[in-house]
């Protein structure tokens, strides 16, 4: 069975039939996203055609889908372990990605190594796709650092906690990509200097912030190659979507002068395909898109059903992924428990690129003060 031929699904084949729980889980995961909702994989696990975006999913064969499934299961397991570590007091807080696995893995897998990402604080799944090990996220939530990866090397900026700030930063970065001529070179692009794009992540609540609107305006004004990727999980803490908007969020894009697409955020194939399309638009010089990832709830089960039904994947694969996920969780836990506290004078380091005499003086004073306790103790 191939994805490009969804009709090959045979309802008479027991492998094709989801159990009751799977159907219910799938149904719960979707409801009225509107006729505009892009969906390539239904909640029942059926691959359906889409004239506009099928071209961006044509290479998704059984192996690719299995690897998407694996990514989603692993990041969910790491996420659940983060949650458990928080409950046990090992982390000060954990920001869960639960339910947003397809949106994040779809986007993350659409990015090329040379693209840039500006996350909010929840994109553990995108971080995973950028080669950032989940252990590298722990410091933020344990309070040992503000992010330990190299944002330039990984092309994944630090998490941004002040809601919306990153949308302007992403736009500025994308303006730089354009100013450096890194868009629209098509087949003239070289391996050294490929076309690039930027992807910016934020939530539905964030869309009320000035920085987000200003990011939209600037991206349009400068044709900046940036994809605004709004994960609409319907809530900003206790505040429902209706308080932030009276129109579907993707429709706002038109008012700024660029396309907006509403994607089923529980459909990893649609997320991947539409993200690829949007990034390609940006790299080719057509500039800025807004994607709204609608209703983030239960994205993994439908992939599993599809793998069973349409690709005949057997249980040993799923068992293997589950075992791998448990190993990852164990590694995360072990790492967390062994994390050293930062050196006491960490706060004085790297405040400036060129050291400040004032900060250095405070560091000296601080160290002398601490040393005085050591001598007191010995005396």
């Amino acid at each position: 069975m191939s994805v490009s031929d969804p009709q090959a699904w045979n309802p008479a084949d027991p492998r094709s039939r989801p159990n009751r729980e799977q159907v219910l889980a799938g149904l719960r995961g979707t409801d009225a996203g509107g006729p505009e909702l892009v969906q390539l994989l239904t909640p029942e696990g059926e691959r359906v055609p889409d004239a506009r975006f099928d071209g961006y999913a044509a290479d998704i064969d059984a192996e690719t889908l299995k690897s998407l499934y694996r990514d989603m299961v692993l990041v969910r397991r790491a996420d659940r372990e983060g949650n458990a570590l928080q409950r046990q007091g090992q982390l000060g807080i954990w920001v869960p990605l639960l339910g947003q696995e397809a949106a994040q893995i779809g986007a993350g897998r659409a990015l090329l190594p040379t693209d840039m990402v500006f996350p909010s604080y929840r994109e553990h799944g995108v971080a995973w796709c950028r080669g950032i090990d989940p252990t590298d996220l722990l410091g933020i939530f344990r309070g040992t650092d503000h992010g330990s990866w190299d944002p330039l090397e990984k092309r994944f900026h630090l998490y941004t906690i002040v809601i919306g700030n990153q949308c302007l930063n992403a736009t500025g970065y994308a303006m730089g990509q354009r100013f450096e001529g890194r868009v629209g070179n098509g087949t003239d692009a070289t391996a050294d200097a490929p076309d690039e794009a930027t992807m910016c992540f934020f939530g539905d609540g964030a869309t009320s912030q000035g920085d987000v609107h200003e990011g939209f305006v600037w991206a349009a004004a400068y044709d900046a190659p940036v994809v605004f990727y709004c994960q609409n999980n319907q809530w900003a803490i206790s505040v429902p979507l209706e308080r932030q908007t009276r129109v579907p969020l993707y429709e706002r894009a038109r008012g700024y002068g660029f396309p907006g697409v509403r994607v089923d955020g529980n459909d990893v194939i649609a997320c991947l395909a539409v993200a690829r399309w949007a990034l390609e638009e940006c790299r080719s010089g057509n500039g800025r898109d807004e994607l709204e990832l609608w209703k983030l709830k239960d994205p993994i089960e439908r992939v599993r059903v599809n793998l069973v039904r349409e690709h005949g994947v057997d249980q040993s694969f799923f068992d293997g992924v589950a075992a791998e996920a448990d190993e990852l969780a164990a590694r995360l836990r072990e790492f967390c428990l062994a994390m050293p506290d930062p050196a006491p004078d960490r706060m004085f380091t790297e405040v400036y690129a060129e050291a400040s005499p004032q900060v250095e003086a405070q560091r000296e004073e601080f160290l002398a003060y601490h040393a005085s306790f050591a001598t007191d103790g010995e005396a």
Binding site: F141, G143, T144, V162, G210, S238, R346, F348, V359
Partner: protein, 324 residues
Amino acid sequence: MAVLTMAKALNDGLRKAMEADPRVLVMGEDVGKLGGVFRITDGLQKDFGEERVLDTPLSESGIIGTAVGLAIRGFRPVCEIQFDGFVFPGYDQIVSQLAKVHFRSQGKVPMPVVVRIPFGGGIGAVEHHSESPESLFAHVAGLKVVACSNSNDAYWMIQQAISTDDPVIFFEPKRRYWEKAEVDVESTPSPLLRSRVLREGTDVTVATYGPSVRTCLDAAVAAETDGTSLEVVDLRTLSPLDLDPVFESVRRTGRLVVVSEAPPESSVTSEIAARVQQECFHSLEAPVLRVTGFDTPYPPSKCEDDYLPDLDRVLDAVDRSKAW
């Protein structure tokens, strides 16, 4: 006398202010259904309705900017900023409009707006949740800036701030929200813009505010066992400063230690040091010493115990002052 947490005292104070004046509104992110992330506005929306307790869109510039407009229309908005580090999207509206409308309108348009900001560290939080930005507001003409330190003050100061016809930036020491103390709901409180001597002493004056008040009172108890008598002044108002009680105290003790979690550079604490050396120059036996955060970004929380003034650092400064 009731024994209340500071959180409950603030909640009661807000409720009383809303009962007293139907033009008082509460607005902010999650303040309605949820009652605020610290539950300071708990139950208010249920009792006063959605048009007096507004769960706003997620936008601090929007919260402050529309509060300015509501105040022009005659309302008395009380804005909640969820955490200290999130006030900055609203800083433009605070500095450019809230602080200046009364002056620009030649007094025709008052700005009775309160901006409540839970501030300070010590709660093991991620970035932007532990800052002490009060000096950035004290520096702005047109704003009144206050900080409560205990339940009784919280209960009264919030009501006084709401009845003030000027904008008041109201700092609440979040790590003290759950500390209990007596609240005297009967007797007339001290005026909002007055500092207060909380503990009398003879050897060294300690001036402080907000979350550090508790630290300094504890330090005074510890110092007493060593035979050192500390006088502790709770500043309460940071702009305008009410330093007469500090001057009076320093003229007796000759020594002053100022304590605050904020970075020291160009701050409330440096302002106090400058004024005390002007007013009390001949009485000083030692330079004014400061115990503060550092001129660094607020560090990751595993470092915060080293960043925040604690009892030992206060006592160390007291010793240095005495040994001068």
